[in-house]
């Protein structure tokens, strides 16, 4: 997916999120956390500041919330501390990418080991 597609999909999601908040059948529900489809699962993590992190994975994968929290920590460490990152542009931080792939691989290894 190139950057234009990601931006398009992200804005679509923002719209859906706003609509779902209004349509929720149960009271006290604030956001969509999990979207289950036939071929994939979509997990969402929303931080206190409103930043949303998405993970698309195989159906039935466990422990995605922990992974999302780890990714959020990496985001605050390597993206927000980077003086060359401006907000609202696509992230192009080398350290963030390296640590992100490491975290995902570690998670995959832990999953297969179980």
């Amino acid at each position: 997916m190139d950057t234009n597609d990601s931006l398009r999909v992200a804005s679509l999601w923002h719209l859906m999120h706003a609509i779902s908040q209004q349509l929720s059948p149960t009271t006290g529900c604030s956001e969509i956390e999990l979207l289950e489809a036939d071929t994939f699962d979509l997990h969402i993590f929303q931080s206190l500041t409103g930043t949303k992190l998405f993970v698309v994975c195989e159906p039935g994968t466990q422990h995605m919330e922990a992974l999302l929290k780890v990714i959020y920590e990496l985001y605050t460490d390597y993206v927000l501390n980077n003086p060359f990152y401006e907000t609202k542009i696509p992230i192009r931080c080398e350290l963030f990418d390296i640590n992100l792939t490491q975290a995902i691989q570690k998670d995959r290894v832990a999953l297969l080991g179980r």
């Binding site: 460490d77 390597y78 501390n81 980077n82 003086p83 060359f84 192009r92 931080c93 350290l95 390296i98």
Partner: protein, 194 residues
């Protein structure tokens, strides 16, 4: 009995005794502050070498003050006159106080007599920073180079100090080298001292 439990108030802050100081400072706080320093300087300059110069100047001020403090606290006001002495002072004491550990290595340059290198796998100031590809050879370690320069120049060993990335095979991230090139008079004096 007299004055028990009362802390002595100093009228002038200069009269207060120099304590050991806070041993630890939050890394995140420093990372944010340094990131803001770099961003602010980016708005003030037109090109990369000016940005490096500005960071170096900021580090120079830190180096001068750190030297005074350490001479008083750790060295008992003794002065270093030999080249190797001052280099090991920078490599161990200054690094320990600033970054919590001694530098990874200190080497003498093979090509020139007046070059020495302090190497570090990853500088603390660079820990969270990824340089974008279009910035080329810019190195935020210019700040640390400035600190070293401040220490050396104020102790009587004028030098030109720069920070470089040195690619290492087998490792994704290159190591950082602080290159110290001493002035002519330093080498002459060293030769005279024997």
């Amino acid at each position: 009995m007299i004055g028990t439990g009362k802390i002595k108030q100093y009228a002038n802050v200069l009269d207060k005794p120099l304590g050991k100081g806070k041993q630890e400072v939050s890394l995140s706080a420093f990372a944010f502050l340094f990131s803001e320093l770099v961003q602010y300087n980016q708005t003030q300059v037109d090109n990369i070498s000016e940005l490096e110069t500005r960071l170096e100047d900021a580090g120079y001020a830190v180096g001068a003050r750190v030297l005074e403090l350490l001479c008083h606290r750790d060295k008992g006001n003794r002065r270093e006159t030999r080249l190797l002495g001052i280099l090991s002072f920078v490599h161990s004491t200054v690094w320990k106080v600033l970054f919590g550990k001694v530098a990874d290595s200190l080497e003498k340059g093979t090509e020139h007599e007046d070059e020495y290198m302090i190497s570090e796998k990853e500088l603390l100031v660079n820990r969270f920073i990824s340089i974008p590809k279009d910035m080329g050879t810019f190195h935020c370690g210019a700040f640390v180079a400035g600190i070293v320069k401040g220490v050396l120049e104020n102790v009587g060993f004028p030098a030109v100090v720069t920070a470089h990335f040195v690619p290492v095979e087998g490792q994704q991230r290159p190591r950082t080298t602080i290159l110290i090139k001493f002035a002519e008079e330093v080498l002459r004096r060293e030769a005279r001292l024997g």
